[in-house]
């Protein structure tokens, strides 16, 4: 079904990059429709390419931009329109598959709330201006003849990689600034720091398929943790006979938890202690060797006897014993961590304790290997985190920033209330927001530059998590721009660079020209023996560029985990779990109606927020499913309807990320609540990363609000005795399907 044999050069021509006078005029937009003769206009092609046949779809490869996993996509293009996205079979990240967020990429592209023209603040209000006027304002504030002290200019971006990242760094260099802040709510900042300290690299390769047991401390592998589609593919192989065992420890059931063989709700924040307890069982009862561990750590482990661990974690003794037993008996295994373990005050220590299990279990070199030396470090992903936003806010507050550029972030929405970001932003005299949508941050900008959609833009991307096969993924326009006055990130960066260093960048007509030159400059040993032209065509045709990586091996240095005792807080008895789910993500997809109407996988709620709570807790508080509760931290409160189910620790209440937008278009605005707003200012002590899961709250009944009521996908919570989902044991499965 793919358009692999298509001459790509022609496509470029059609897209308007191949020379003058060759343009594709799309078919008539489906607006007025009638069967009467002579009413509807049919727009013929002016000069079609050989492969364009009206009524038939053609597939072009590109890269999904809905999250930073970097899945390859094939866009089905017909009569000049993108109709659907499919996974690119050539990409080792997703091998032909796509998640629901990827599928919704077309809705981000055709979204009715896209910004179509630049907006400049004049007399207090943002007004639409021409691109020329916007460029003049930019040159005036940031050009080489401006009064800007370049070192006081900053970029706040989400995760960026590839040549966009290269240009962005070049812009900072041209300004003479080192202020690149990266910000993502859903991140692995703590785990990557532990990885760096323990294994010497931020992101080793995890071989889920080679493990017989995966013990996950909150890693939402098939959901929001690293690369959803990739790990879903791995999960399938992991589950075929002989079937691997998945054990999930977390305060609130994630999608991965919903698929676990054993789901354990440990007391929020006690995951590290549980890991120490398991280590103790392994060393004391199963005779595993702790020789690789420093003596202090061995002593520390010995102090976590099982009874003590039961008391701290609230996990039944039998479960701890069983988990240790299955880990000892079935080797190799793989221990991973996720947000619910990482994002606490002692998150670093908890992760270190969990990763230390991999050393005891001998998993290093088997299920955890080095990802090697990526040959183009300047292209790799600059990962965002929360502390990037904190640093930005602090520097803005001190008046160190005169001009700020925002891309791929919506900090006014994602910043907790304690950060007081709006006030700090006001101290930045000129704020430039590059965005597709009018979001909360655009609302406070001085200049809004409308971006082309991901399906209209050029780019290269290095996926956030790279599996064994390393690649650079290509992004190319799948259709002509919907709105003339939108531009791609690369093109905006080039114009900014031309304002600072015209002599160096005037030569590039546009970002496409820059990319072509960048591709010509790739060392020939990475081109597989083909010429520049063919290499470029292949990159576009397949959508991925395989990269040779120098091998490395890992020699782990275990870290002594120093786990503090959990603090009790009588006035705020519950831990707030700001849970992420595959769908609205961190809120960036709240404007996509398909994802609003797609039920949350666990609670099955649509179009709004909810508070998840254990039925026992709800009964104690005297609240029922569907009633409203107020979740209050020291920083403020939010009110949302209650969903009770057993997949959550009684000491935790979960509020999903994603809703509570004050701007962001018709589908998102005024819907639900944003749990990020009420976070307490607690950080992981070691890394300084805000502890998203460390906020304590109290919960009380609140008045019913018809507008924000909970609507769930219908159907029963149980099978009422019917044979709908029948289950068998892995033992039987391995017996019948193992051969």
């Amino acid at each position: 079904m793919s358009g692999n044999d298509i001459n790509r050069r022609n496509f470029l021509k059609v897209m308007g990059w191949g020379g003058a006078g060759v343009a594709l005029s799309g078919c008539d937009m489906p607006t007025t429709v009638t069967l009467e003769e002579g009413k509807e206009t049919v727009v013929s092609y002016i000069m079609p390419e050989e492969y364009v046949i009206p009524g038939q779809g053609v597939y072009f490869a590109s890269t999904c931009q809905q999250c930073s996993a970097g899945c390859g996509v094939h866009g089905r293009v017909r009569e000049g329109r993108v109709l659907k996205l499919e996974g690119n079979t050539e990409s080792p990240i997703n091998t032909g598959k796509l998640c629901q967020m990827g599928q919704s990429g077309v809705q981000a592209h055709y979204n009715p709330d896209r910004i179509q023209k630049p907006m400049l603040r004049k007399g207090g209000a943002l007004v639409e201006v021409t691109w020329e006027e916007a460029a003049a304002a930019l040159a005036d504030k940031t050009g080489k003849d401006s009064s800007l002290n370049g070192g006081r200019a900053a970029w706040l971006t989400g995760t960026v990689s590839g040549h966009q990242s290269v240009l962005l760094q070049a812009h900072l260099e041209a300004l003479g600034s080192s202020r690149h802040y990266t910000h993502e709510v859903i991140n692995n900042a703590v785990a990557t720091q532990v990885n760096q300290d323990m294994f010497g690299e931020v992101q080793p390769t995890y071989h889920v398929t080679k493990a017989k047991v995966v013990l996950s401390f909150g890693a939402d592998l098939v959901g929001t943790s690293m690369s959803p589609v990739h790990f879903s593919r791995e999960h399938t192989k992991f589950r075929s006979a002989p079937r691997g065992v998945l054990i999930q420890v977390e305060p609130k059931m994630t999608l991965t938890g919903g698929n676990a063989d054993l789901w354990i709700a440990a007391k929020p924040g006690s995951e590290g202690v549980l890991a120490m307890g398991i280590a103790n069982e392994l060393l004391a009862k199963h005779g595993l060797s702790g020789d690789a561990l420093p003596g202090g750590l061995r002593d520390s482990i010995a102090s976590y006897n099982t009874d003590k661990v039961v008391e701290i974690t609230g996990v039944a003794k039998t479960k701890i014993v069983e988990v240790a037993k299955v880990l000892a008996e079935r080797s190799p295994s793989l221990v991973l961590t996720g947000a619910s373990t990482e994002a606490h005050e002692h998150g670093y220590q908890s992760v270190a304790a969990a990763m230390m299990l991999n050393v005891i279990l001998g998993n290093i070199g088997k299920t955890i290997t080095s990802s090697g030396e990526f040959p183009f470090p300047q292209l790799t992903a600059k990962r965002g985190d929360m502390k990037g936003l904190l640093a930005f806010a602090e520097h803005a507050d001190k008046g160190e920033i005169d001009v700020a550029f925002f891309y791929g972030v919506n900090p006014v929405y994602t910043a907790p209330k304690f950060l007081n970001l709006e006030q700090k932003l006001d101290k930045i005299p000129f704020k430039v927001v590059l965005t597709q949508f009018y979001d909360e941050t655009a609302n406070r900008a001085d200049l809004v530059l409308p971006l082309a959609s991901a399906l209209e833009d050029w780019g290269t991307h290095v996926p956030g998590y790279l599996p064994e096969d390393k690649i650079i993924s290509m992004q190319q326009p799948l259709m002509e721009k919907l709105y003339k006055e939108t531009h791609g990130l690369g093109d905006v960066l080039l114009s900014l660079l031309k304002m600072r260093k015209p002599e160096e960048y005037e030569g590039f007509a546009d970002y496409y020209a820059f990319l072509r030159e960048a591709f010509a400059a790739i060392p020939s040993d990475h081109k597989g023996g083909v010429g520049d032209e063919k290499f470029w065509m292949q990159a576009l045709q397949f959508g991925v560029i395989p990269v040779n990586v120098a091998e490395r091996s890992i020699k782990p240095t275990p870290i002594e985990a120093d786990l503090p005792a959990l603090k009790e807080d009588i006035s705020y008895p519950f831990y707030l779990v700001p849970s992420a789910h595959l769908g609205l993500w961190d809120g960036r997809h709240a404007n996509l109606p398909w994802l609003q109407e797609a039920p949350d996988q666990i609670s099955k709620v649509v179009w709004g927020s909810w508070v998840e709570m254990h039925p026992k807790t709800a009964a104690r508080l005297g609240v029922e499913n569907g009633e409203f509760v107020r979740v209050e931290s020291m920083q403020g409160s939010i009110e949302a309807p209650l969903y009770t189910h057993r997949g959550i620790h009684p000491n935790a209440v979960a509020v999903p990320l994603g809703q509570g937008h004050e701007e962001y278009g018709r589908y998102a605005k005024g819907r639900g609540v944003n749990p990020l707003k009420i976070l307490n200012p607690v950080t992981d002590e070691k890394t300084g990363e805000p502890a998203l899961y460390g906020t304590r709250v109290q919960v009380a009944k609140a008045p019913f609000d018809e507008k924000q009521k909970m609507v769930r996908f219908g159907g029963s919570e149980t099978q009422v005795g019917r044979k709908l989902v029948a289950s068998i044991t892995a033992d039987v499965f391995n017996r019948t399907e193992g051969a």
Binding site: E37, V42, V43, S44, M47, P48, I53
Partner: protein, 200 residues
């Protein structure tokens, strides 16, 4: 009214109106002399379509009748796709950069070409949104896989549904193209009768 999805509803209305018109017109305009396409029963029935003013009064008669240009030379997608397609401007200009460049219509065409614009042609023949019709299969059945037919005679097959276009300047709808019209032809020619073959 800009309501895309209203297509179904509009279509339904249209179908019933179309059938009513057919009954009246059928009696008034008896079938004219049909070309004898072998192994085929030509569909009967006529329809009094409106005159459709086009941006350029394209003379089908000059092209198809006087100059004997094969329909599929311009409507090149008909044999490969669902839709026959309006020829791309580049195809027109293939001849008209040299031929008849002094004519008003060609000057207008050249203007469109030079300004990189497509002439805003008006649609004459259409079927409702819920109908899947493919030119490719019909041409295959009546022309390419039809023993005794010659590609030169394609216009006789086109005429089944489009009438004698080569006698017209701009095309005009002269067949009702409603379900009854389709069904009678399918029955006479042993075409498929499964609903989902044609409805989508």
């Amino acid at each position: 009214m800009k309501r895309y999805s209203n297509r179904l509803y509009e279509g339904l209305k249209r179908i019933s109106l179309g059938s009513a018109a057919l009954l009246v017109v059928f009696a008034a305009v008896p079938g004219t002399g049909w070309a004898e396409v072998p192994n085929a029963v030509a569909p009967k029935g006529a329809h009094a379509g409106d005159d459709v003013p086009q941006p350029i009064e394209f003379p089908h008669d000059v092209h198809a009748k006087i100059n004997q240009i094969n329909c599929m030379y311009c409507h090149t997608y008909a044999r490969r796709s669902k839709v026959a397609g309006i020829p791309p401007t580049s195809k027109c200009m293939g001849c008209h950069t040299i031929i008849a460049t002094d004519k008003e219509r060609i000057k207008k065409l050249t203007e469109y070409w030079e300004s990189n614009q497509s002439p805003p042609w008006k649609k004459v023949h259409d079927v409702p949104d819920y109908v899947h019709f493919t030119h490719e299969k019909h041409l295959d059945r009546f022309l390419f896989s039809n023993e005794g037919m010659d590609v030169e005679r394609v216009s006789e097959v086109c005429a089944f549904c489009h009438g004698e276009v080569k006698e017209m300047t701009v095309a005009k709808k002269v067949k009702s193209l409603n379900m009854g019209f389709c069904r009678r032809c399918h029955e006479a020619n042993d075409g498929p009768s499964d609903c989902w073959k044609c409805h989508k």
